[in-house]
Point group: C2
Chain length 379, copies 2
């Protein structure tokens, strides 16, 4: 069956140019980047070039980039590493209520260790107000974590303003840019972020590689122990091909992002119009503007979202109810609960995310199959 | 310049067949293994097949394999995860004095947290005696960690016997198999190990992917937090292409290991003979038998090993002084100190490790260049 992929927020295919860039580093140009000989220096050079490319793309310095296995590791490192290192200074963290679980779970772990966590709710469109962050600030607050854009409903958060007040209060700001890098402009200086986490596989790079931006001079304990790699902040033989691939993915996005975002947004807007006008009772979750250009997220009343996804899948169309990291859970999404959806609406959710290879034919196929399934029909 | 690579213990090139096996999973067969739709199920199937292949190769069950970013992460997870989970039961760990830093550093971290660590020294050939482990056992010992083979001097440890006494004493045994898997037979049941750590890039798989074997029922806290991947033991979108590549590397080793080990051992023995007979005062470190088939490790008196490696590199031959993870350190290796070498001999060390593509011409080139450099000449 010819299949349509509309779940780019879960993972993207590697761009063929990314694969081509990685290819030589598996065999012809292989090496351990810590080895002092020719093979090692060659690998190290490729990796440091990759670091420079990534850093430049997000307005960071190369030495502020720590390569990791992905955004989950980066988020764990930033939250646990910072909180434990700053324990003498304070034990209060402010976390967006709609953060990814790789932020929420480490925060819960810290709560068990005696830290105090304030979860800041979003408004009904998913936007976290800087004013709400400000209200939550305490004299012992050490870290604020709010993602640049929400992975389910696509809300782009006012990180610049949150960053401004964090900087005023001399509190670290962590922002998860996994959903935004390569899709909309990201500059850690403009955002005033001290930490930013990302995964290559969300912007046409390989799985298993990502990075944490750590602003120069920040206090954050080391993560993996046992080697001097990544300036002692993350031991482990570096994934040279993976970092080269991530850098190539950055380079492609640098050139194409504006154009791609425009195309996807137009296609996405047409898709939203078709769904909202074609099905009774359906609602769009997340903001109308300030939204990721490739994200559409709906709730269908009296519909089981998991079943809807399964039926679309049978018809050859891949969508999701929300985050892939939590698929199979029976609870309604914490994001949808936080924006005030009833269980009934939250459980009927459907996320459609477009990408580099999405076409009008793809969205037409989606609409066509959705009409056949007709989730809003009386049962 | 035509170059010779004799540092296979630092990293191996990816086998071209491994690259070919990974290739489709970057683009044509991509997917997030946690997604419930076709793309996700396809990715998950490939990953679970990979898990089965790896598990079968080391005598484990598929559900006992946790994919990680490499052996360093696996070692960190096993030591920190076990020690912290078993804190109420005991706070004493027994660690081989010649372990990799990804074992030693987490142990040092635990010492800071109030745990007691006993470092068990090897004999002068690098073998850690089960008797010495037995002497170190306490009523509150929770974990013994001894690598299957040492990464510098190639000593193969008597893990079966250490495993036997750990099992008798109901104490967990962690063994780092990064140097042995794919090179000599490894069976976690025969070894009686409860945990075993490995990296794909040490046996012709890709960098950035590895695994931890965790025997069913062992107590070990989760590592990365924030998703249900790897049965909740390691959150993060899985590296599907990487795990497929690792499994292909396993398959190749399964078929070729015995033959390759025989070829490498013969070549290695000739190389050792040529060095020992060609240079006055040079010694072979590590055991004569019970040694990795591809490993040779020498000490040249009155020689700076780093300089020797640099001069060989200039002549087109890549070797190392020891572990790539510690290159650039000015201290003599803890392994060489532990087997009783003087600083003078420890600092004059040279590790030569062979692999799949090593030839007699490679070792002849090494011997030829070593004779030109003549490290033992009077200065």
């Amino acid at each position: 069956m010819d299949r349509v992929y509309l779940d780019y927020a879960a993972t993207t295919p590697c761009d063929p140019e990314v694969m081509a860039a990685m290819q030589p580093f598996f065999y012809e140009r292989f090496g351990n980047a810590s080895s002092p000989h020719f093979f090692g220096r060659r690998a190290r050079k490729a990796m440091e070039d990759a670091r420079e490319e990534l850093a430049g793309f997000i307005g960071a310095k190369p030495e502020e980039i720590v390569f990791t296995s992905g955004a989950t590791e980066a988020n764990n490192l930033a939250i646990l590493g910072t909180a434990r290192a700053l324990k003498p200074k304070g034990r209060h963290l402010i976390i967006g209520a709609i953060e990814h679980h790789s932020i929420l779970e480490p925060a819960r772990q810290l709560a068990k260790e005696g830290y105090q966590i304030t979860y800041v709710p979003p408004d009904p469109t998913g936007i976290i107000s800087p004013f709400e962050i400000q209200k939550a600030l305490q004299s012992d607050t050490i870290l604020v974590a709010v993602g640049h854009a929400n992975n389910e409903i696509g809300a782009i958060e006012p990180i610049e303003d949150i960053g401004y007040l964090c900087r005023e209060a001399k509190i670290y700001l962590l922002t998860d840019i996994a959903q935004t890098i390569g899709h909309i402009p990201v500059d850690v200086s403009t955002l005033r972020a001290d930490f930013a986490s990302l995964s290559a596989h969300k912007f046409y790079g390989p799985q298993g590689v990502g990075a944490l931006f750590m602003r120069k001079g920040v206090t954050c304990g080391p993560w993996l122990l046992g080697g001097d790699q990544e300036r002692g902040r993350r031991a482990s033989t570096q994934n040279v091909a993976g970092t080269v691939g991530m850098a190539k993915a950055v380079g492609l996005c640098r050139n194409r992002m504006d154009q791609e975002a425009g195309i996807q947004q137009k296609l996405r807007d047409e898709l939203i119009d078709a769904v909202l006008s074609g099905f009774a009772g359906v609602v769009l979750n997340g903001p109308a503007s300030n939204r990721l250009p490739n994200n559409a997220h709906f709730s269908f009343p009296n519909t089981d979202g998991e079943e809807l996804v399964a039926r679309l899948d049978l018809a050859g169309v891949a969508c999701s109810v929300g985050s892939a990291c939590t698929s199979g859970q029976l609870e309604p999404s914490h994001v949808l609960k936080a924006i005030g959806l009833s269980d009934r609406m939250a459980l009927g959710s459907l996320r459609v995310t477009l990408g580099r290879w999405s076409s009008r034919a793809d969205s037409a196929r989606f609409i066509q199959q959705l009409k056949i399934i007709d989730p809003c029909k009386k049962k």
